[in-house]
């Protein structure tokens, strides 16, 4: 049973991201490198946020639980802000890098959030004996999937906003990132955190689609296999 939980949660969390990787990135070596560079920059931003949090914890009163929780929330907010400043400073104008640094961020963020949980889910036993929610693994997996896709959408909108000087778009990305992170403070009430997150993800997805040049017409052409550019690019005979 634990194997089922492990595989199920892994595929839920990483399924869309890995399929994106396989279909669009794995063929192009340059894109893979951008992906890994994106993951690296996320890691650096996390490192800096952890450093600040660690120092603040050492200074603070370690006995007070509420203070520790407050510091943790501060750490979360700081890390979100740092994550948003990194792509701004490290951006190149190569068209591919936009999508990929977002996805790289997403992969790394999702992996860091969920890998240890997945490793524990294989082990003997499961969560919930002391009254904690039994849906811990499943909700983590769904949350991770949403976060990975969100990072990719945020990356697209953020870079487009930076290039076209649309600061409202940039502010909206930062605000929605903060919103999603703060929604998770309500865990384990999963309904109030997961549902709004998925709503935000849907809106961001639509926005990113239009930002990247998509339209209903393109979508229709693509889905009915009539889009010549798409077919040529993927060697499929008409």
């Amino acid at each position: 049973m634990t194997a089922a939980v492990f595989f199920g949660c892994t595929f839920i969390a990483f399924g869309p991201a890995v399929s994106l990787f396989l279909f669009t990135i794995a063929r192009e070596p340059l894109r893979v490198i951008f992906l890994i560079a994106g993951a690296f920059f996320w890691l650096v931003s996390l490192l800096m946020a952890s450093l600040v949090w660690f120092i603040s914890v050492q200074i603070s009163n370690k006995e007070s639980v509420s203070q520790q929780k407050g510091l943790l929330i501060f750490g979360v907010v700081l890390s979100v802000l740092l994550q948003e400043t990194f792509p701004a400073s490290a951006s190149s104008h190569h068209t591919d890098s936009i999508l990929l640094s977002g996805l790289g961020f997403g992969f790394m963020s999702g992996a860091f959030s969920v890998v240890n949980i997945l490793a524990d889910s294989v082990g003997p036993g499961t969560v919930g004996i002391h009254g904690d929610s039994q849906h811990y693994f499943l909700s983590s997996a769904f949350m991770t999937m949403a976060i990975i896709l969100l990072h990719m959408f945020w990356g697209i909108i953020f870079f487009d906003g930076c290039e076209k000087q649309r600061w409202l778009a940039v502010a909206a990305v930062v605000a929605s990132h903060l919103l999603v992170s703060c929604l998770t403070f309500q865990n384990p009430q999963y309904v109030s955190s997961l549902v709004p997150t998925y709503v935000v993800m849907f809106f961001m997805g639509v926005w990113a689609f239009y930002t990247a040049g998509g339209s209903l017409r393109n979508l229709k052409l693509c889905l009915t296999c009539k889009d010549k550019d798409f077919l040529l690019a993927n060697h499929r005979p008409r």
Partner: protein, 385 residues
């Protein structure tokens, strides 16, 4: 690719095997004169984007080489991490070894640090002595001696270390009889020796080189004490830097002597991407196409594979935490990417260890001490960032 009819007659089972001797191309040096042409199965270019494509060609060509090295390095690290996480034999405490006589069992931090530095000094001096010996032998053309030495060491790797690897059976409680083990090890080892020292299909050669790097890394992880491993990794990166870049460095002298004599460096020690596809020894039936020149790509030494895997494997073995392992993995890949970028700029032999190991060590210690408590706390409350 090539147009000549006589090519088809030459292609049979014998020529399909790629000899282990690499072509006489200076190692670590992509050919500067060649214009990077795309492979024959490239996509049809978008007519509007052609000027942009021409600028991107060198970038894509370089990126292809980077990925062709990422894949074996990732495979090696994956094998090592998977083994460490599942087979406890390689993370168990072991008896004191002769190369690292100073024990790390003391509770005093300063004493432990001192012992690990002393252990490192012993290991590094052994490595320096062996390297200098190898260079001296090569300079005085004692090829038979060198070949014998390499054959002995690959024998040890392929037979003894893979026999040790069979501990995996004990983990999964699989009962195997000795005759089966003997046959499996004999076949594995014999084919490995052939592939590495004589001829074999390219992918089998590459697979064997990855496997022996992984086995060597696992043995290092098992037999080196914890703190000594980290100090050794740092020291060997510094040694690599000095040995390859300084004018009297042994590795630099080795590469230069090999280039002067127009000989390949020992195939048993180097992972090459396309070893031996163009054979300058055979009579030329057609002019060498640009694609053939392009095929002779970058080479990476096995020692680099081994030490990358030691770093990631040790990160996986100590602490049991996947975040640290992932962070080290990404750091090493980015270091490798930067090293290859420098290679494309400087076009001469470069040490592959320093940048990757430096990034790896920085990320290991910072993730272990700073990021891990933060992420643990977040995971407890299920906060997401």
């Amino acid at each position: 690719m090539s147009v000549s009819d006589s090519d088809e007659e030459l292609y049979n089972e014998r020529t399909a095997l790629v000899p282990a001797q690499n072509p006489a191309v200076p190692s670590y040096r992509p050919d500067p004169e060649l214009s990077p042409t795309e492979d024959s199965d490239s996509k049809m270019p978008d007519p509007g984007a052609e000027p942009e494509d021409e600028e991107e060609e060198p970038l894509k060509y370089g990126a292809k080489h980077v990925i062709m090295l990422f894949v074996p390095v990732t495979l090696c690290m994956a094998v090592v991490v998977a083994t460490i996480k599942s087979v406890s034999f390689y993370s168990e405490k072991t008896t004191q070894q002769i190369y690292t006589p100073f024990s790390e069992d003391t509770p005093d931090v300063g004493r432990r640090l001192l012992h690990s530095v002393l252990n490192t000094a012993i290991m590094i001096s052994v490595i320096v002595v062996m390297t200098v010996l190898l260079v001296v032998l090569y300079k005085y053309r004692c090829y038979k001696f060198i070949h014998g030495w390499l054959i002995l060491s690959s024998l040890m790797l392929l037979f003894w270390f893979s026999f040790m690897y069979l501990e995996v059976f004990r983990t999964y409680n699989v009962a195997v009889d000795y005759p089966t083990v003997a046959m499996v090890i004999w076949n594995f080892g014999a084919v490995g020796m052939l592939c590495i020292h004589w001829k074999g299909p390219l992918q089998l050669q590459q697979a064997y080189l990855i496997v022996i790097s992984a086995l060597m890394a696992l043995v290092f992880i098992k037999y080196l004490p914890e703190w000594s491993t980290w100090v050794i990794l740092g020291a060997i990166s510094v040694y690599d830097l000095v040995a390859v870049l300084s004018p009297k460095g042994p590795l630099r002298m080795l590469v230069e002597t090999a280039q002067e004599r127009n000989e390949p460096i020992f195939p048993a020690l180097i992972y090459s991407l396309n070893g031996g596809r163009a054979e300058p020894q055979s009579p030329r039936l057609r002019p060498v196409t640009e694609e053939e020149l392009e095929e002779e790509g970058v080479k990476l030494g096995l020692g680099d594979f081994i030490f990358y895997s030691v770093l990631v494997g040790k990160a996986a073995a100590t602490g049991g935490d996947w975040n640290t392992t992932l962070a080290c993995f990404v750091a090493i890949l980015i270091g490798l990417c930067l090293t290859l970028l420098l290679l494309a700029i400087f076009r001469k032999a470069l040490p592959a260890l320093p940048i990757s190991i430096a990034f790896g060590l920085i990320f290991y210690f910072s993730t272990d001490f700073l990021v891990q408590p933060f992420m643990d706390n977040l995971a407890n409350h299920q906060f997401y960032i």
